[in-house]
């Protein structure tokens, strides 16, 4: 493989005068299951073999993706990429430059305690069936459930013209459980995800019984939840909601490509944007976490990146192009879903640092507010408008968590809301998830419980 990659890069540099060239070849095996109630829709497995070739010629990018890894296909694809870059360079205003990166030669092997590739498909089917049975058996009002399962194993070969060559194993296991409950015309919906880069052993902790019950219980308890009145209220956010808030409302704005595109953080570097108790990290080095890896898809080592320290923006997430523009250190955030995609800036495991409050302390002084415990989805805009849909929430009345409410969402402006965070809990949870930015990345997000003085709450009552 090394020889083929090396010859491919030579073509770009010698024949087309590329100032930068990289090849990322992959061979991936995916095993997938979908269960609808207790029906196994199909047991599925696929092989994907391909390469992504990226070049900088005359300051413009050319990219080619091809479902092959033989010398002839790669040579032809990288030639295409170089010609395309030249076509673009004719219109270029500012040539693209990359920050210098250390060259690396490394081999990264993964040694999972339970390698998904070694586990028979029958066992995976039985495990997901157990999940389904636990959910359906929890309560007669549970009317349907869907269980998805994925494991992905494979090898990534990365080489660039600067002398970096990395062979890196890949491993992901993931499962998602959905349940719906129905009673007297009220439909509720509940979702859970499990994800790990460690191995199948994640299901020894998040067992089918534990996760199945968690998702089923929520769907059933939401049946008695009432729609809420919209407006501005104080709130306590659970770690799961804090995670998606940090990821969506803040994280995307701190992806340096989006910052440059005009996110509200562009003129805020070094400035205070949040209350003193707010500290955020994006960390690719947490062992086994769903967003972790050793090298990113530009061959840059991952690291723990401090984004906000005591309310001040101190860092952004970079690739080699944006690090050059900001004159910043590399953070290792360039990720590509697979060989069909170019690496772009993505989050890894993004979280808020815990502080000193107990849950009781966060709630006790609140006369009326809401406790948002678990999210359904979230989205942010460059101007800082965020929305987080909530799948589990409760009223807080006179310092105590009370009746459940349903179909709420919270919104507001990220910067205004961060200044209103007035207390941060001492607990901590990290949740796996998937993030879409034209391509999918596996990530985690999390944090402690926090209290926000006020947030806009959308409800239909």
């Amino acid at each position: 493989m090394k020889d083929i990659l090396s010859k491919t890069i030579d073509v770009a540099v010698e024949k087309y005068g590329a100032e930068y060239a990289e090849v990322r070849a992959q061979r991936l095996v995916k095993t997938m299951l979908t269960l609808e109630e207790e029906r196994v829709e199909a047991a599925k497995q696929g092989i994907e073999n391909g390469a992504a070739l990226r070049v900088l010629v005359n300051g413009a990018w050319g990219f080619a993706s091809v479902g092959a890894s033989d010398a002839e296909s790669l040579t032809s694809a990288i030639s295409d990429a170089c010609k395309m870059a030249k076509a673009v360079a004719s219109r270029l205003r500012k040539p693209i430059k990359l920050v210098e990166a250390d060259t690396v030669e490394d081999k990264v092997s993964i040694t999972p305690r339970k390698d998904p590739a070694e586990i028979p498909i029958e066992d995976k089917i039985n495990m997901t069936l157990t999940m389904s049975k636990v959910i359906l058996g929890y309560d007669r009002r549970i009317k349907s459930c869907t269980v998805n399962y994925l494991d992905l194993t494979g090898t990534n070969y990365f080489m660039n013209n600067e002398g970096t060559y990395i062979k890196q194993d890949k491993l992901y296991v993931w499962s998602r459980l959905l349940a719906t409950a129905v009673e007297q015309g009220v439909f509720t919906f509940s979702r859970e995800e499990i994800g790990s880069t460690a191995g199948h052993e994640v299901f020894d902790i998040e067992t089918p019984e534990i996760v199945g019950e968690r998702v089923a219980k929520r769907a059933v308890e939401q049946l008695k939840a009432k729609p809420l009145k919209g407006g501005t209220f104080p709130a306590v956010l659970g770690p799961n909601v804090v995670g998606v808030f940090v990821h969506e409302a803040f994280g995307h704005l701190a992806e340096a490509d989006l910052t440059l595109s005009g996110s509200v953080l562009l003129d805020k570097l070094g400035k205070k944007i949040a209350s003193n108790v707010v500290t955020f990290y994006d960390d690719g080095s947490i062992e086994g976490a769903f967003g972790s890896f050793k090298y990113d898809d530009e061959g840059v080592p991952t690291r723990k990146t401090l984004l906000v320290k005591d309310g001040v923006v101190v860092g952004l997430m970079h690739n080699r192009e944006t690090a050059q523009k900001f004159n910043a250190e590399l953070t290792g955030n360039a990720r590509a879903e697979d060989f069909r995609f170019e690496p772009i800036i993505r989050m890894r495991n993004t979280f808020m640092e815990p502080k000193d409050h107990s849950f009781e302390e966060l709630v006790e002084d609140m006369k009326f507010g809401y406790y948002f415990k678990s999210f359904r989805g979230g989205q942010a805009n460059l101007d800082g408008t965020f929305q987080v849909g909530i799948q589990e929430a409760y009223k807080i009345v006179n310092g105590e968590v009370g009746a459940p409410i349903r179909n709420a969402s919270i919104s507001g402006n990220t910067l205004e809301t961060l200044l209103k965070v007035d207390a941060v809990g001492k607990d901590f949870e990290l949740w796996p998830g998937r993030c879409g930015k034209g391509q999918t990345a596996f990530i985690c997000d999390g944090g402690p419980h926090i209290r926000v003085r006020e947030v806009l709450v959308g409800g239909s009552a």
């Binding site: 609808e36 029906r39 196994v40 199909a42 047991a43 599925k44 497995q45 092989i47 994907e48 391909g50 413009a60 050319g62 080619a64 993706s65 479902g67 092959a68 032809s76 990429a81 870059a85 076509a87 673009v88 004719s90 219109r91 270029l92 500012k94 498909i121 089917i125 009317k143 719906t180 129905v182 439909f187 509720t188 919906f189 919209g230 501005t232 490509d257 595109s261 005009g262 170019e342 999210f375 359904r376 989805g377 989205q379 805009n381 460059l382 101007d383 408008t385 965020f386 929305q387 987080v388 849909g389 909530i390 179909n407 969402s409 919104s411 402006n413 806009l456 959308g458 409800g459 239909s460």
Partner: protein, 454 residues
């Protein structure tokens, strides 16, 4: 890597089906997909890259004793890899569980005839041509107003082909083209950045207008400046197709899928023949729509695409089915099986979900409103409750309508409600049909939607 020809693709599908049958499959189906896409991208005000993606592969579904196995590969040059894929699908079927509701793969039927789905000119475009188109779009945006910043966009030309074969004698090939350009912009005012504004064109033919896209993306951003907060109250909302598509994709469209209905996840269960929407609402799932983004001769299982009435004059008429869900009810598939290329088994999806337009122009709708909100884009629609249809989303940006005119942009307005209530509150449909994803629709006026503001 040379592109596969029609005969090669069909031959490969046939070969895989035969091989699976010889090796003991009760039934077998093979789907071969090939996609070639050339694109150029705009990032932060400049055209900065071009890409070419060639993706192709084979997916094999086999049934053994009413249990299904599926396997795919993108290594098509090697006989061994194809054989390995077939064997893997068989082994997985044997390892899987029997499904008592399985009643066989589709049988052979004449494919539909479709129009406006292929244009040879799109195949001939290279990076240089696309750079020119992107430049036209970018220039048009930048000339509009100096406060406009085009942040992202691009031009793409795709050629897609599909071949299918199954053990019931189904065999087919179809190909088509897609041509698109899009631009995202923001505008920067004094101490103010607008939310992202967006315009695009997507067509099956060489028939896009990059200049219009550029101008319109810029115009939207400029008019989104000086946004104000709105009050909390129920008002009339004029939804553009962007907002409508986001809202319907996770709610109404799911509610008419047969699998959702059969699995108790749809509020439309047992409602066929009942009035579910305002009388002016008629919706077809039109798999044959001329030039439709999802128009093909056959679906992901080789069943002919068709036009299915969903709601006629407010009355729920039919759900959409793939082969499996149809047979479960003793019905015929409506040709709504969809696949993610060669990578997935089929599932029920809308084709061109067509909300029929009426006569009024969008301008007439605006001028008829004493007070209202024109909602272009939504944030957070994917967090709607798919079963109940309840949504709680942010309109970014939206424009306040006062006394028949667009008065000012709003910020942070939340909309909350239930999609099924929205359907019954539709009071007007405009005449400006356009295609966005699976949706073909005009602007839609909905009365009495809850807006949560300051």
């Amino acid at each position: 890597m040379a592109a596969l020809k029609q005969e090669e693709m069909v031959g490969l599908a046939d070969k895989a089906v035969n091989l699976a049958q010889r090796k003991g499959a009760d039934e077998a189906e093979a789907y071969v997909y090939q996609g070639l896409t050339t694109g150029v991208s705009i990032e932060r005000g400049q055209i900065n890259r071009s890409s070419r993606i060639i993706d192709r592969g084979l997916g094999v579904r086999v049934i053994v004793n009413k249990a299904t196995g599926f396997s795919y590969t993108n290594i098509l040059e090697s006989q061994a890899a194809i054989e390995e894929t077939v064997v893997k699908a068989l082994n997985f079927a044997k390892a899987s569980k029997q499904d008592q509701n399985w009643q066989g793969l589709p049988t052979k039927k004449a494919f539909a005839s479709v129009e406006g789905t292929y244009d040879n000119r799109i195949l001939e475009l290279d990076s240089e041509d696309l750079v020119k188109i992107a430049a036209t779009m970018l220039d048009a945006a930048e000339k509009m107003d100096s406060r406009v910043f085009p942040i992202e966009g691009g031009v793409g030309a795709s050629y897609l082909c599909k071949a299918i074969a199954n053990s019931n004698g189904v065999e087919g090939f179809d190909h088509g083209t897609i041509f698109e350009c899009s631009l995202e912009t923001i505008a920067k005012g004094e101490g103010e950045v607008t939310p992202v504004c967006f315009e695009f064109n997507i067509e099956r033919k060489y028939d896009i207008n990059p200049e219009w896209v550029g101008k319109e993306a810029a115009r939207l951003a400029v008019t989104a400046l000086k946004a104000k907060r709105t009050e909390t109250k129920s008002i009339n909302i004029l939804f553009t197709q962007f907002a409508l598509q986001q809202l319907l994709q996770y709610t109404l469209i799911n509610a008419v899928k047969a699998d959702y209905v059969q699995r108790n996840q749809s509020a439309f269960k047992d409602k066929i023949g009942e009035k579910v929407a305002s009388e002016i609402v008629t919706i077809y799932d039109d798999g044959l729509f001329n030039g439709g983004i999802r128009t093909w001769k056959f679906d992901g299982e080789g069943v002919p695409r068709q036009k299915t009435p969903i709601i006629e004059k407010g009355v729920l008429r039919s759900f959409i089915y793939d082969n499996y869900t149809a047979k479960k009810e003793g019905k015929e598939s409506t040709g709504n099986a969809s696949r993610a290329g060669y990578l997935s088994t089929p599932n029920v999806e809308a084709t061109n979900f067509h909300i029929m337009p009426t006569r009024k122009s969008p301008e007439e709708l605006i001028s008829g409103l004493k007070e209202g909100l024109l909602v272009y884009y939504l944030q957070g629609a994917h967090s709607s409750n798919p079963a109940s249809g309840e949504f709680s989303v942010v309109a970014t940006p939206a424009w306040k309508i006062e006394n028949g005119e667009i008065a000012y942009a709003t910020k942070g307005a939340m909309l909350a409600g239930n999609i099924f209530q929205v359907l019954t509150n539709i009071s007007e449909l405009a005449n400006n049909d356009r295609k966005i994803g699976e949706l073909v629709a005009p602007w839609v006026l909905v009365e009495n939607v809850k807006v949560i503001g300051k």
